[in-house]
Amino acid sequence: MTTPSSPAVETHGLTKTFGDKRAVDGVDLHIRRGSIFGLLGPNGAGKTTTVRLLATLLRPSAGTARVLGHDVTAEPHLVRRRVSLTGQFASVDEDLTGRENLVLLARLLGFAGRAARARADELLAAFDLADAAGRQVRTYSGGMRRRLDIAASLISTPDLLFLDEPTTGLDPRSRGRVWDIVRLLVDGGATVLLTTQYLEEADQLCERIAVIDHGRVIAEGTSAELKASVGRGVLHVRLADPLVRPAALRFLAGHLGEPVHAADDPAGLTAQLSDPARAASAVAALASSGFRLSDFSLGQPSLDEVFFALTGHPAETAADNGEGRG
């Protein structure tokens, strides 16, 4: 049996190689029960591979992983009974209706005829899908599909739910709905491991975040800790005259005492701020020193900026395909 005190997930040197590609490269994770843990990283970082290893869909090449106290290699069947996975790409059957999808899975999970239908209807109602229950999933919107996908993972309430990029491609309203569901789930005592490419999402939801790049964890901590290393906010300014950018960069760095770097935009500068309140004075100081600004904004650091701060290089997407930004 699982000891209730064992962590939801504990990995040591978890590694997965495909040929000579190290998709996951020595990952150590410790996820507390009852928490929401975020795996943050760009495309190709190894998020999906990590989740698939933990859900026992892949076997580790090296290292160990214990999920809810069970070793994923030695006791995959015990792990499978307690976890659920909502994959990155819709893991529901588009040809069937929403209700048929849930009834199918409920039967496989051991609900007998009537109980399976009751469970399906209960979830459809809770996830605001009752009206669409009888329609083929191919007619669903992205947000409805995601909700059905998540509902499908919750038929037998799992102790640990993996959500692989649950909100990628969703509109803000659907995204908010998914966030609500995740929070309610954890209120009920479950643990959630979610992957995301959005710092904001990790920030909103997760108790702890691991930033992953090229299969390695490059930073781990609470959202506050991460932001302390990255800056709590990011100031973007756009100069009226690109030629004065080097001077403006030196001035701003001196004024703020924090890292400032040149943006892709030849007239743009980006500064990381440990205290967002200083943004206004920085803008004012720039203007009064004769640097004319055509635009400025204060935002949350993006994943790119997190990466820049942590690694000194921008996040490379699809690192190996040779078709990234290179």
Binding site: A55, L85, A90, T97
Partner: protein, 278 residues
């Protein structure tokens, strides 16, 4: 419930209630799991009856065309030729339908749903067996259609309804056995259309270098030898024997050798490939 102003509190309460811990049933056993996946296959046919189009139209085309084109030349009359041809068309239709098991499987594994199935606490091969069980419906539909068109054109089965049912069962068995070849193919190639193409490349020579359309007596000896060992030809021989009310035990045994061997070889290969990580 209005879409514009969702009663947030109620929805949250409903989610909380739906997710509240409760006793969990034991996951489905092997039989329930396979039957559930077979039910899924039926639902797919229900939602996409056009999938049965091939199964229905191709045999009709073949029966009508061959009977009226070649009947006079090959057998002296269209009636006589239909008596000869119908069991052959039956076999050809069902055998081609067995490629569908491969198509379905290939489509599934290229989608996220495959991960969902594999992460369930049920026997890992139940999706494959369930799909194959569902495909038996297709084989049966295909057989029934051929018989119906045959009767409409004047075909008579000497062995009556018992013979017809026996032939349909024999064909179901044969096609289910053969479909392991296509499930194996499906797990080796990337797209459903490749499964289809390769499937046809296997089946075309098997059905034409056979006794489906003509009596092999007029063929050159080397071809007669091939026909004598061609599993499709053996199946046609058995189907004719059953429908004609002739002694059929020997031919039926001979016809079942191929599906048994194929199952013994490609069954385990399919299982191994399906379990392989990807």
């Amino acid at each position: 419930m209005s879409a514009d102003t969702p009663p947030v509190r109620d929805v949250d309460a409903a989610i909380r209630e739906a997710l509240s811990p409760r006793p969990q049933p034991k996951p489905a056993g092997v039989v329930t799991a396979v039957l559930t996946f077979a039910w899924r296959a039926l639902l797919k046919i229900k939602h996409m009856p056009e999938q049965l189009f091939d199964v229905v139209v191709t045999p009709i085309m073949f029966t009508v065309l061959f009977t009226y084109l070649f009947g006079g030349a090959l057998a002296g009359s269209t009636d006589a030729y239909l008596q000869f041809l119908l069991p052959g068309i039956l076999v050809q239709s069902v055998v081609f339908t067995s490629v569908y098991s491969g198509l379905t499987l290939n489509t599934d594994i290229s989608k996220g749903i495959y991960d969902r199935f594999r992460s369930l606490p049920v026997w890992s091969l139940s999706p494959v067996l369930g799909t194959m069980a569902g495909d038996v419906i297709r084989y049966t539909v295909s057989s029934v259609i051929v018989f119906l068109i045959g009767f409409a054109m004047g075909y008579r089965a000497e062995a009556g309804i018992v013979g017809i049912v026996a032939v349909i069962l024999l064909l179901d068995l044969f096609a289910a056995g053969l479909s392991w070849v296509f499930t194996t193919l499906a797990l080796l190639v990337r797209t459903p259309s490749t499964v289809m193409t390769l499937g046809w490349m296997v089946l075309m020579p098997l059905t034409f270098a056979s006794n489906v359309f003509v009596d092999p007596a007029t063929m050159p000896p080397w071809l007669q030898t091939i026909v004598a060992y061609n599993p499709v030809a053996l199946l046609v021989t058995a189907a004719r024997a059953i429908l004609d009310g002739a002694p059929a035990a020997g031919p039926v045994m001979a016809a079942l050798i191929a599906p048994v061997v194929v199952t013994a070889v490609f069954g385990p290969v399919t299982m191994m490939l399906y379990r392989r990580e990807r």
